[in-house]
Point group: C2
Chain length 253, copies 2
Amino acid sequence: MKRIVLFGTGNVATHLFEAFNDSPNFKIVQVYNHDIKSLKKFEQKISVTTDLSNLKEADIYLLALKDDVLEEVSLAIPTTGALVVHTSGAVGMGVLKKFERTGVFYPLQTFSKNKKVDFTSIPLCIEANLTSDKEVLFKMASEISEKVFEISSEQRKSIHLAAVFVSNFVNLMYTEGDNICQQNNVPFEILHPLIQETASKILNMSPMDAQTGPAKRKDQQVINSHLGMLSEDQKEIYSLLTKSIQNLHGKEL
Amino acid sequence: MKRIVLFGTGNVATHLFEAFNDSPNFKIVQVYNHDIKSLKKFEQKISVTTDLSNLKEADIYLLALKDDVLEEVSLAIPTTGALVVHTSGAVGMGVLKKFERTGVFYPLQTFSKNKKVDFTSIPLCIEANLTSDKEVLFKMASEISEKVFEISSEQRKSIHLAAVFVSNFVNLMYTEGDNICQQNNVPFEILHPLIQETASKILNMSPMDAQTGPAKRKDQQVINSHLGMLSEDQKEIYSLLTKSIQNLHGKEL
């Protein structure tokens, strides 16, 4: 059995804590955070600490911390022979260079505080500098997910970038749609089936083939009428994305 | 029983034809299109014509035509006492002003040629100038869908505009994500669960609350590193959408 010290109490840390709750082979033995308040929800279940000189002995240090504190915290952790792993999509493995045995354990999903997550279908991207540690992480990832990928730091950065487009920017499009509905007294719910269908369509066809709409059709009359209904900020987005669709699909016409 | 003449042979027309196949109360009696070839797939099942002076007697003319030919075709249809209805999200009911009894029957969904559609959960937006015809369209819509909304031409235009954001522009984001994956030898499938979760999240929370990512966190280090990985066109999109997210969420910080 491998013992894990979990660093962090945010969404990713909390979901990982729950996911490993029933694992017989990987056991979280302690949760660290700099802020005592955020440890409250863990202290009934597990040993907690705010003191980096008070870490329990463990096989794996799992750093589920915000990108911008990763370097600072990892430099403050006492030198250890344990495998030290972070969960970030955007940060290379190099940030952990202080340690001999390092790795990455990146769950490719968007986590919300109050929404339970089934890890089984969440892709886990793993990386390690030692082959033996790669095997440890592979086993650890397989414990909670059916989709484990060995991904280099370079590839992981590109996945994280792609994720910004298909998740963060997509959610901005939902927000703009919601705003337009609200301004016209239409319930946003009317768009829910379209949103779900648009997302499930690309499971079976490439997004390039799935493209529809006035931009792709070059229907300038509809495009002009739409532009007339938008605020300046929305107009800028509409124009740029319409131009992009037409650039991408221009050759087809 | 109401008899329907269906105009058009595209995605919407084809899916509506199939949806009304089993209806005991609304029966498609003829399909019109200007192009004889496109009528091929219907002629085994139903009377077809390319001649507007040869239309069958019917209670409803259902114009499932492209936006840009709607006016031309409707002006060429002989004057009739039938209820004349189009299926467009972007065009007002006024385009049918030649006729006494007019309406709109707009299915709010993205249709693909080879993907079967279950109309039951597709919102149908109806409108008519006469109250009695509104009731006819309500009954007709309820025959194939559980979600029927009475929506004015103005509201419908705004829904159509919102749909461009939550479907067409969202699909462009998927395309950019796919391109980034391809350029880095990562399978796009790795993003499928994230895409599905992002779409299903907003069924239970507002997209404004669901926003995550470096733009919202104002994580300039990650944003800069992302910009360095993009083509000029992608950079323009990334910068503008990042700015928009920060404008929308600026007050929260």
